[in-house]
Amino acid sequence: MSGVPVRLAIRDAIAEEMRRDQDVFLMGEEVGRYNGAYKASQGLMDEFGAGRIIDTPITEYGFSGICVGAAFAGLRPIVEFMTFNFAMQAIDHIVNSAAKTLYMSGGEINCPIVFRGPNGAPRNVAAQHSQCFASWYAHCPGLKVVSPYTSFEASALLKAAIRDNNPVIFLEHESLYGKKFDMPDGGADSLLPLDKAIVMKEGSDITITAFSISVDHALCASEVLRNQYGISAEVINLISLRPIDKTTIVNSIKKTGRILSVEEGWSVCGIGAEIMAIAVEHAFDYLDCEPTRITSSDTPMPYAKTLELLALPSQSKIIETALAMCNCPK
């Protein structure tokens, strides 16, 4: 299929899983009658009814706990957070109830649940609505954390997440919902593993790791690096933030000798920090220059457009940093 927007891929993946398995249901604010705040559940209430597409009051803590309870009892809830900023109200149930119970119960009680919604920085919505939570969840044992870039990834990973028997954090991005990608006609059972990175573009001079919207910036930057500077960048789409696919990253560093991590999150204890640690722990002897990360500025997100641009990672920041790492004059 050509030109499928990410939001549609998500919608269709939910629908396919709900048709396949009666135990799957969707709960969240405005998911039903309103068809989703970002229209990722358009038409689902018409097909599945209010018993399986469930509108909630604005009570993240409560409905997340209710869904964890339902998952303990064997149902397979998909919890939509209008944005992940609001999941902070529910993080106790995500971490203390969903993530830890399998362990605490000695394997007795598992929690097959997906927490999904837009994460990261859309544009112009200021500090409380622009934040990447990848490293927050990646920190916690008991969770799986994935973040798709393309429509196919969104579909295949979401289906895999729904079928997984563990709690999965599924980080989407508002700026990607409308982006169209061609999708292979893989059929309803076309899944992707939740723990594997994807090499989007092979290269030999520098490895760039990214996830979600940052893959977009990295791919664009790699074009410029190749065409204007003759630098061959390997772009890795991390997909999984817990676990991080060390093998793919380390193999790439062994080839290129340089590692640049890009993310919208903050630098301190971020995903990039973990990538740097992986590089140093597992590929130290192969490094030709210091592992480097590009992150958002170490500040809350400003509202003013000009400041927001300064705060966020961008194609030009990637190019500039990659050139410096490769000792290439601008």
């Binding site: 604010e29 405005e30 009658r33 309103y34 705040a37 509108d55 009051p57 604005i58 009570t59 803590y61 409560g62 900023n85 609001f86 902070m88 109200q89 544009r123 112009n124 919505v125 200021a126 500090a127 409380q128 609505h129 500025s297 170490d298 500040t299 809350p300 400003p302 509202y303 003013a304 457009k305 000009t306 400041l307 300064l310 705060a311």
Partner: protein
């Protein structure tokens, strides 16, 4: 106070405030469509009588906190229109120096503590402001505004419990505009009403017509006095309505055009005062027009100021993270 009791000058003053509130928001909508304002922007149009009426009974030591629909609360606490409009446009001359935008406006001087983008979060914060008033014994009251959607948040009830337990001087102002984004109250609140939510905590609820500034002024006056005198928290249940979509990106298909038009026609807070001024006090059309011109000039000047103001300097990005 009924419209008939309204004194000429105070009536005109209230009319001017209502009109300014309305026209600031209309201008904000206009600047949004021109791209000067961006991101999330929630307009207060329709609900003006709530804050205009309450501010008649507030003092300078009182504190205010509200959600993201905050422009008009700022205005009525005395933050200049220029400063509000500049903040909306992300300019350094704005009340948050361009770093907060529509949802995040504050003034320590005027004791406005946001502007909060997280539904419900302002409610415990408001009780905290009340705690500080009581702790210091300064006689101030916290006005804590929240929506019908926010009213279902668990933290509201944790707050009710402590506010009642500790007898905090807080007026909880429930701005029930019938919808939390696209969800009507009957689809979000068990029992279909929010008027009894204070009952288990012994917090009295006073029902107020939030489209009628006179009702707001009159009903809140004695209530606020009681709270100020240490008789504990109160809920003012404002029956109100928002005319525009939830935010600039909401087409509002969950309600009928008819519903909106009926409210505008029968309950509009500004028309109500205008009619009272004309028919009961005998204010002439020329005076009404004079006020309109006056307010238009203020709003136009604010827009001009905002548009012409500079963006924050680049180094502002790293400022004010910690002290």
């Amino acid at each position: 106070m009924s419209p008939g009791d309204m004194k000429r000058d105070s009536g005109l003053d209230i009319y001017r405030k209502l009109l300014l509130a309305r026209m600031i928001e209309e201008k904000a909508g206009e600047l949004y469509s021109q791209g000067h304002i961006y991101g999330f922007c929630h307009l207060y149009i329709g609900q003006e009588a709530v804050i205009v009426g309450l501010s008649e009974n507030m003092t300078n030591i009182d504190s205010v906190v509200t959600g993201y629909r905050d422009h008009v609360h700022m205005l009525l606490r005395g933050i200049p229109p220029n400063s509000i409009m500049a903040e909306l446009c992300g300019k350094v001359t704005g009340c948050s120096k361009g770093k907060g935008g529509s949802m995040h406006m504050y003034s320590r001087d005027k004791r406005v503590y946001g502007g909060n983008g997280i539904v419900g979060a302002q409610v415990p914060i408001g009780a905290g402001l009340a705690f500080a008033h009581k702790y210091r014994g300064d006689g101030g009251v916290s006005f804590t505004f929240y929506g019908d959607g926010a009213a279902n948040q668990g933290q509201v009830y944790e707050t009710f419990n402590m506010a009642a337990l500790w007898n905090l001087p807080v007026v909880f102002v429930l701005e029930n505009n019938r919808y939390g984004l696209g969800t009507s109250v009957d689809r979000a609140a068990a029992g279909g009403t929010l008027a009894n939510r204070g009952d288990p905590f012994g917090i009295p609820t006073v029902l107020v017509d939030g489209m009628d500034v006179f009702d707001v002024i009159e009903k809140s006056k004695s209530v606020i006095e009681k709270v100020r005198n240490g008789e504990g928290p109160v809920i003012l249940h404002m029956d109100t309505y928002r005319y525009k979509g939830h935010s600039m990106s909401d087409p509002a298909t969950y309600r009928t055009r008819d519903e909106v038009e009926t409210v505008k026609k029968t309950r509009d807070p500004i028309t109500r005062v205008k009619n009272a001024l004309i028919h009961e006090i005998g204010i002439g059309d020329d005076k009404i027009e004079e006020i309109m011109n006056e307010v238009t000039a203020i709003v136009d000047a604010a827009a001009k100021f905002a548009i012409e103001s500079p963006a924050p300097p680049d180094h502002a990005l790293e400022m004010d993270v910690t002290l």
